[in-house]
Symmetry: C3
């Protein structure tokens, strides 16, 4: 049985397979490939694109989705083995995962970082509790460590624009925000772009390093695919000549050990990192702009960048549908 | 591409077309007219009838609905152009509307008045933000200015009962409530009934005037269809000889400039406007009673009126299904 | 028109019919028995299994479900006849039930005890308000008095394990919890097991008696089916030789007249009632463990019992699907 909760589940070869199928089906729709299939979708956190695109994939392919919001019409779920459940979590994933597995054909789970720090996110406790206890294929709709469907959609958008991603110079740049955000999206763009052979440049202020294990994994993919990964604290340097600029905010590295008040001040001190057209002008003339959405306009990215013809954020969101259709098909194949 | 967010989108002729189709399909079901189509439904506010009737329309015609509750499992949405998004709204309609348009075939939006006053409601900022940014047909499931599907269902109910609505004397009467409600429903009954050629009588206490532009629009429809619109502060006078009594509460006209505390006192001072059987007895012998629902029993309308055989509120609610099936079909035709 | 909100609606004969069909369809799937049918599901309370299993039943049989969460995207509902609706409940079941009946083919309602005491639960005011006002078949998804679909699933699990339930010794044992829970589940196991001819032993601490009318009803079923029902305050005594152990917590009998603080202390004083493997060892060698779920691990039941091969709680949950498919088919037959 297959699961997909991280890029490592498929590796660079699997990324190729899934994206090739996604591209083929984008131009020529498949038939009812999920006829009578049910995807159960368990949300611990909000969603617009993920929820709608997964449900649309199922409905447009003869199947159905059942959407469950944890803590909102559905019991709160416990993930810790051995817990004495005397607080607000009424059900354990040890029961919820196998029970749902009896009722649906595939299960999707969204569970953001609980804010316990990079080490805990690396362990990804909630999605891994599901992984241990499901008896049907499991797909991540974003967890603490990764948002792998987003990464696949990002790379499909690059491919559509530039034909190939081999040695394509792309920049992942940190952007400001009102609060420290999880690192799943930057991790996934980094891993997916490296697995697709890009020349990935990561730009962020000091203290916002991504987790060493994620960086090591990206390095290994780059080595295997002829790509590369470099890091800098200089946004301008990274943007120079980039064919794609991917903006995303994330919180400081836990190990930096900031107090909460300091984090707000630290994030605020880098407000100048918000991408503008002036910053974009350092990139290649045909450079495109990407963001996973939702985006806080004029905080994380300026209106002028999002409303410029070089922005591909809507196409990128649509590509969630296409990669997920391909991915779910791969998941249910043995 | 067609949209339907106000009666003006179809005018009196369109009202006829949509109602004729609705009536025809009520007696003879159409086939799978929405085969494989998806209606995306975005709710900023609660709903029972609207949500269930739209979803039932899609399911009973071979299609599907995807339901999204803004701020409840879905990111809160910003509508203001140029906003610096540093508060609780994580996504802009500028992104949400085109993204959803890539995933569904039609989009419905419910967004009540934000309470900013009649002038702001006349501009209808949220539904109009969607209207600017969608790339698929948009249907209003009630916005600040109008609830046009309700208006259509109301007129269909009149037609079924009386055969024709030409010069039919009908009263829209203000009713009490525990708080000031939006004017979308009274606006829509007024506009729809005028567009259907009724002799519309509007009764409300002083200070509860509907917006001048809505009244002007209704006047224009009445002129075109041989109907009429009159206003009075005397409920008894309006009811005399009416064939239909439509009760609905709404808040005072903004221009009246009441302080919040005064509004509560003002509303309370008109508790005597609650329709009773005694009031209904002034209407025609065959008069029917209408209300859009939900209704607060014994506050807005008395039990004796709602439980009397002359009440048609359940048929009226069912007609939401019939007019919406016809309307969505019209929307997806070019 | 048929409804199913309590075991009494079908009696021991109906239980046999529904379970036989459930078992037959479990080994050989029926076709699209709910083709184009819509089940409306109204939830006043959270759910995981109930919501997913009912929706899966409809989707896997050619039909659909529309899910409504009361007070969460849907207006709060009033059930009291004659109420002056000036508080937070915006709509009366007198309207909601007939309106929904016009839009769907069957209606399911979940409404837990409001905490008003055993006498009020016996009257089951909310589900009975729906029952009075629907015009389509109504099914309980758990109400104040009973959770009859759970009871059917429990008995199906017993049958699958032991072949027959005639004179099968089974124990329903009270278990600890952090708060007093409703009695719908213990009532339903008691009633269903008695209707299936089991030798039912109920064990609970003093002061936790089930309602006299429920006990009388169970007694009548036992008499008719050759089963029996006995009560004890001694868990060990009940477990001795039992082939199934059903653990469930519930609150004290209202008539015991405890103050809220006393209830917490009372419940805490019986923490020793939590089933352990040691307790289970008093049962028959082939005894199975049952629980309706959700279960609070290490509060209500210990990990060692839930993780032991004798636990059938996941099969029991899956059986919700099977009995509900059979039941909805029975409901829509005339």
């Amino acid at each position: 049985m297959r699961h997909f909760t991280r890029i490592q589940d498929v590796g660079p070869e699997g990324v190729e397979t899934i994206l090739a199928q996604a591209a083929a089906w984008k131009s020529q729709k498949p038939g009812a490939i999920f006829q009578s299939r049910i995807l159960g979708m368990v949300f611990f956190n909000p969603s617009l694109r993920t929820r709608t695109s997964f449900e649309a994939v199922m409905l447009r392919s003869g199947g159905h989705a059942i959407v469950l919001d944890v803590g909102n019409g559905v019991w709160k779920l416990e993930d810790r083995p051995g817990a004495v459940m005397n607080a607000d979590r009424a059900e354990h994933i040890k029961e919820a995962a196998p029970v749902l597995s009896r009722l649906v054909d595939m299960l999707g789970v969204r569970t953001f970082s609980a804010g316990g720090g990079d080490e805990e996110d690396e362990l990804d406790p909630v999605i891994n509790a599901f992984r241990r206890h499901v008896t049907v294929p499991l797909v991540s709709m974003e967890s603490a460590r990764e948002h792998p469907c987003q990464g696949l959609a990002d790379v499909l958008t690059l491919r559509e624009t530039f034909g190939t991603t081999k040695k394509l110079p792309v920049t992942l740049t940190w952007a400001p925000h009102i609060k420290p955000l999880p690192k799943a999206v930057p991790n996934s763009f980094l891993l997916s772009a490296a697995a697709a052979g890009c020349e990935v440049r990561v730009a962020h202020p000091p203290g916002f390093e991504l987790h060493p294990q994620v960086r090591a994994e990206a390095e290994a993919y780059a080595k295997a695919t002829g790509g590369s990964v470099t890091y800098t604290h200089d946004q301008d340097e990274a943007l120079a000549g980039s064919r794609a600029v991917y903006a995303k905010s994330w919180g400081p590295a836990t190990r930096a050990g900031h107090a909460p008040g300091d984090v707000a001040a630290l994030m605020a001190s880098y407000a100048g990192w918000m991408p503008t057209r002036k910053a974009m002008s350092r990139a290649a003339k045909d450079a495109i702009f990407l963001h996973c959405l939702p985006v806080r306009r004029n905080v994380e990215v300026s209106d002028e960048v999002l409303d410029h013809p070089s922005s591909r954020v809507i196409d990128e969101a649509e590509n969630r549908f296409h990669v997920q259709r391909s991915l779910l098909h791969w998941l249910q194949s043995t």
